[in-house]
């Protein structure tokens, strides 16, 4: 499918999702156009609203990149959530253990510690997949839970701040806190970092042999073997990169927003990353846009509720529909003239999809 058609289809899918959401808003007794206007203006055109959007978008972007890179190599990383937790843990431990470094040294080291944490957490499913063929989806899912509980233990036990009413760690040193990019708001430099990573990764995939070869494995593993690329090594490398990215997302949440490690500090960002990655069609350079879009929807939902009275749950519905419609749009056969709508509605529950595949002579 060429990218213009694909972009058109994705746009159409987004519109359809918003339309259905609009009907729900109508059903709730409100004006959909007003509701959406408030939502989008607030999330993107209002200073404070946009700062909230940026705050949410930062971890989402890195989590999205953490799904994109492995997926380009053909591996499904849904362990982002756990990698965020362990990354945040490692980052916090380092920050608290070595509190006196200057910011220019300390912050990168914290990121490094977090990356190591995430990488370590991704290494286990990576090696299991490469050498034992164990399904990475299942392993990473399990490890997500383990990670959450490990952090929960850490902040309630060894890292517990003195006199804390509920589990959280001490604050990290002032020097280590990420600079604020929008004055008088919470919006920190995390998104900028994510943007930089997105650019680097895009560049890496497109202009370096190692990146190109990683992409190759995901497109056609047999052709990659024919090109002399080691599939196992590539899969592991992809997962480790993904883990380090998610780990750094965890660091950002700690030193960018709350300045402490909290119990349950990641509110499903790892899973949001899957949606971000998917909507970006696995292209790192598009991920910042989809992260902003998703974050904006989520951040603006609250404002929409306060201002118009529409329940924020409508936005969750829209998010779900966006994924469904975009997914349907992207898998529709290239040579089919059926529209997305037709594909979804007509189609016969028990029919076989009829493709006329070219037969190899």
């Amino acid at each position: 499918m060429n990218s213009v058609t694909m972009q058109c289809r994705v746009a159409a899918a987004l519109l359809m999702a918003l339309t259905v959401g609009g009907f729900l808003i109508l059903f709730d007794g409100h004006n959909p156009f007003e509701a959406y206007k408030v939502l989008f203006f607030d999330s993107f055109l209002n200073y404070w609203g946009f700062s909230n959007t940026l705050v949410k978008a930062s971890p989402m972007l890195l989590a999205g990149l953490a799904v994109i890179i492995p997926m380009r190599a053909g591996v499904f990383n849904i362990g982002g959530e756990g990698q965020i937790y362990i990354g945040g843990l490692f980052g916090t431990v380092f920050a608290l253990a070595v509190p006196d470094l200057p910011a220019v040294l300390g912050v990168p080291l914290i990121f490094l510690a977090a990356a190591i944490g995430g990488t370590f957490w991704a290494a286990i499913p990576a090696y299991l997949k490469a050498y034992r063929g164990t399904n990475e989806v299942i392993v990473t899912l399990l490890m997500n839970f383990v990670a959450i509980h490990i952090v929960s233990y850490a902040v309630a036990g060894p890292l517990l701040a003195e006199g804390a009413p509920y589990p959280y760690s001490d604050e990290v040193a002032e020097a280590y806190r990420l600079p604020i990019v929008m004055p008088r708001s919470d919006a920190h430099a995390g998104f900028v970092f994510g943007l930089a990573m997105a650019l680097i990764l895009y560049f890496w995939l497109r202009f370096t042999p190692s990146g190109f070869q990683l992409d190759l494995v995901g497109r056609n593993a047999r052709a990659a073997a024919y090109a002399g690329v080691d599939e196992k090594k590539t899969i592991i490398r992809a997962m480790l990169i993904g883990g380090s990215l998610a780990g750094m997302a965890g660091a950002i949440e700690v030193i960018g927003l709350k300045y402490r490690l909290f119990h349950l500090f990641s509110d499903g960002y790892g899973y949001d990353g899957i949606v971000v990655a998917f909507l970006a069609a696995l292209n790192p350079i598009v991920a910042p846009l989809t992260a902003l879009f998703l974050a904006g929807l989520s951040a603006g939902a609250g404002t929409m509720q306060r201002a118009i009275g529409v329940d924020s749950s409508v936005i969750e519905v829209v998010e779900g529909l966006v994924v469904v419609f975009v997914a349907a749009a992207l898998v529709a056969p290239r040579n089919s003239s059926k529209s997305i709508l037709k594909n979804l509605l007509i189609g016969g529950l028990f029919g076989h999809p009829k493709h006329n595949k070219k037969k190899e002579a």
Binding site: T208, N220, A227, G228, K358, K359, E360, A361
Partner: protein
């Protein structure tokens, strides 16, 4: 005898490939009909039509005089048509009994079923272990489970797809005996195979297919094997000389040129013990085209994989010029200047989701000519691609298009252009003309000749005997993983080559 099965004017086309062209057939009960043909001849497609996996575009099937429509495998079973696929369709985790009973209506699965299965085993003298999962069974036993599946369903027509290709030599005789018993009970058996000696042994008639057409349906007893193989490969006169006049002006006296490739005593044994390559010796000289002829499945593909590094041989050595490359990696061999046009251009030779220009580069992306310093130079790739597109007249000529948008012939040109430019010492091509029309075929042959003339040794592996003969200086014939003979096209007849191709393992030294 009243015919059981009557197939009339069956046609089946996939995209622009005509897989079945006007197929007609009359067959009776208690007959064994072999279906003979090369890969792509249409044998499996015909079987798939009979078994309900594909629907014919036109034509009809009659069973006992009544027209039937086999719209699904379930329908085929109802009509008593069964098939045993080459690679089986068994559920590894389940036992033999469970596999036999899948999909049957409830009444047939009661306690009587067990007894009936055992009875069938006795009748046909089968040994089957009923207590283990199928996955742990030897291949021969798995096949018996497949046969039991068909027997249990009271098939009146059974199609066997290359049944002995997976068996060890010792398992073949008992299997053929089982088939004989089946035919004796009145079953109509279709035996798809390219092994002429087995066809001779087991079949009453042989149906020869080529490019989707039925070339002939002949009684086995009175048809010589050479005629069968000739029809299969498309020659009408088996005694004509192999060399067609005017196809090659200049013959290279190869023995004086430097040795480009020396394969010594190379064997490849599979984990099952099957000998895929046995003591292969080959010598190629610079500028020579050595053809490898043979019926598909006799080790040619594996030979190419061993030489190019995709597989490692079990024993023996390979020398490229003076350098031993026996254990070196694919990347190293690419760097050594070995070009390889693989058999499956979609799965291996190209990455269809990448653009045409990227397909020129993907196999050795780190190579200097694609790079600018340490980074990939997209501009360099574009330039190289544009030059190749022009030189090889690849259409459409936009190198930014996805490779999937091009026709088979143009896709092959991409692979050819890429590998020809890479091949400094050796070019290995496997089935280079597969699926190509006359014009594209001619182009490919010309390009390969040009490569050889520039001093590169070419290993030309193909089952299209006509193409092999027209281009090669010498031809090595393979059968059962061995080289059965090396001939020069102008000094051999097709009959001789046919005999070399069909030499059985015992005849080969």
């Amino acid at each position: 005898m009243e015919p059981l099965l009557k197939v009339t004017s069956i046609e089946k086309t996939f995209g622009d490939v005509r897989a079945l062209v006007n197929v007609n057939l009359l067959a009776s009960r208690g007959e064994c009909i072999a279906i003979l043909g090369e890969n792509g001849a249409g044998k499996t497609t015909l079987a798939s039509v009979l078994i309900g996996l594909y629907q014919p575009d036109s034509g009809q099937i009659e069973l006992d005089g009544t027209q039937i429509f086999v719209t699904s495998p379930a329908a085929a079973i109802r009509h008593g048509i069964g098939m045993i696929h080459q690679h089986f369709s068994l559920v590894g985790a389940m036992t033999a009994e469970e596999n036999i009973l899948i999909g049957l209506p409830g009444e047939k699965r009661g306690t009587a079923a067990r007894a009936r299965i055992r009875q069938l085993c006795d009748d046909f003298d089968f040994t089957v272990d009923f207590d283990v999962p199928v996955a742990s069974m030897a291949v021969g036993m798995k096949q018996r489970v497949e046969i039991l599946k068909a027997l249990f369903r009271d098939v009146s027509i059974l199609i066997l797809d290359e049944p002995t290709s997976v068996l060890a030599p010792t398992e073949v005789a008992p299997f053929l005996q089982g088939v004989r018993k089946l035919v004796a009970t009145g079953c109509l058996v279709f035996f798809i195979s390219h092994k002429l000696d087995e066809i001779r042994e087991i079949a009453d008639r042989v149906m020869i297919m080529r490019h989707g057409c039925v070339e002939g349906i002949l009684p086995v007893a009175s048809t010589p094997m050479t005629q069968m193989s000739a029809l299969m490969m498309g020659q009408t006169d088996a005694d004509q000389p192999a060399e067609k006049p005017n196809t090659k002006e200049m013959r290279l006296d190869s023995t004086r040129a430097a040795k480009a490739l020396v394969v010594s005593d190379v064997s490849l044994t599979a984990s099952s013990g099957a000998e895929i390559l046995k003591e292969v010796d080959l010598t190629l000289h610079a500028g020579e085209i050595l053809g490898i002829a043979g019926i598909d499945g006799n080790g040619q593909t594996e030979l190419s994989e061993v030489i190019t590094g995709l597989k490692t041989q079990t024993s023996g050595t390979i020398l490229l010029g003076d350098k031993e490359i026996s254990g070196s990696s694919i990347a190293a061999r690419i760097a050594d200047g070995i070009g390889f046009v693989p058999e499956d251009r979609h799965a291996e030779g190209l990455v269809l989701s990448l653009s045409v220009e990227e397909n020129f580069a993907f196999r050795s992306i780190g190579e200097g000519k694609f790079m600018s310093g340490r980074l990939i130079s997209r501009r360099a790739i574009s330039k190289i691609a544009e030059d190749a597109v022009t030189a090889y007249d690849i259409r459409p000529s936009n190198p930014k298009l996805n490779a999937s948008a091009l026709s088979g012939g143009n896709q092959q040109k991409i692979v050819l252009a890429r590998e020809v430019s890479r091949a400094r010492n050796l070019l290995v091509v496997v089935q280079p003309t597969k699926g190509l029309d006359v014009g594209a075929t001619q182009f490919v042959q010309d390009q390969i000749r040009a490569v050889a003339q520039s001093g590169v040794a070419v290993l030309y592996i193909s089952t299209e005997l006509e193409h092999v003969l027209e281009i090669s200086d010498r031809v090595a014939v393979m059968a059962f993983g061995r080289i059965t003979g090396v001939v020069t096209p102008q000094n051999t007849t097709l009959q001789d080559i046919g005999l070399l191709m069909t030499a059985s393992p015992e005849e080969v030294v």
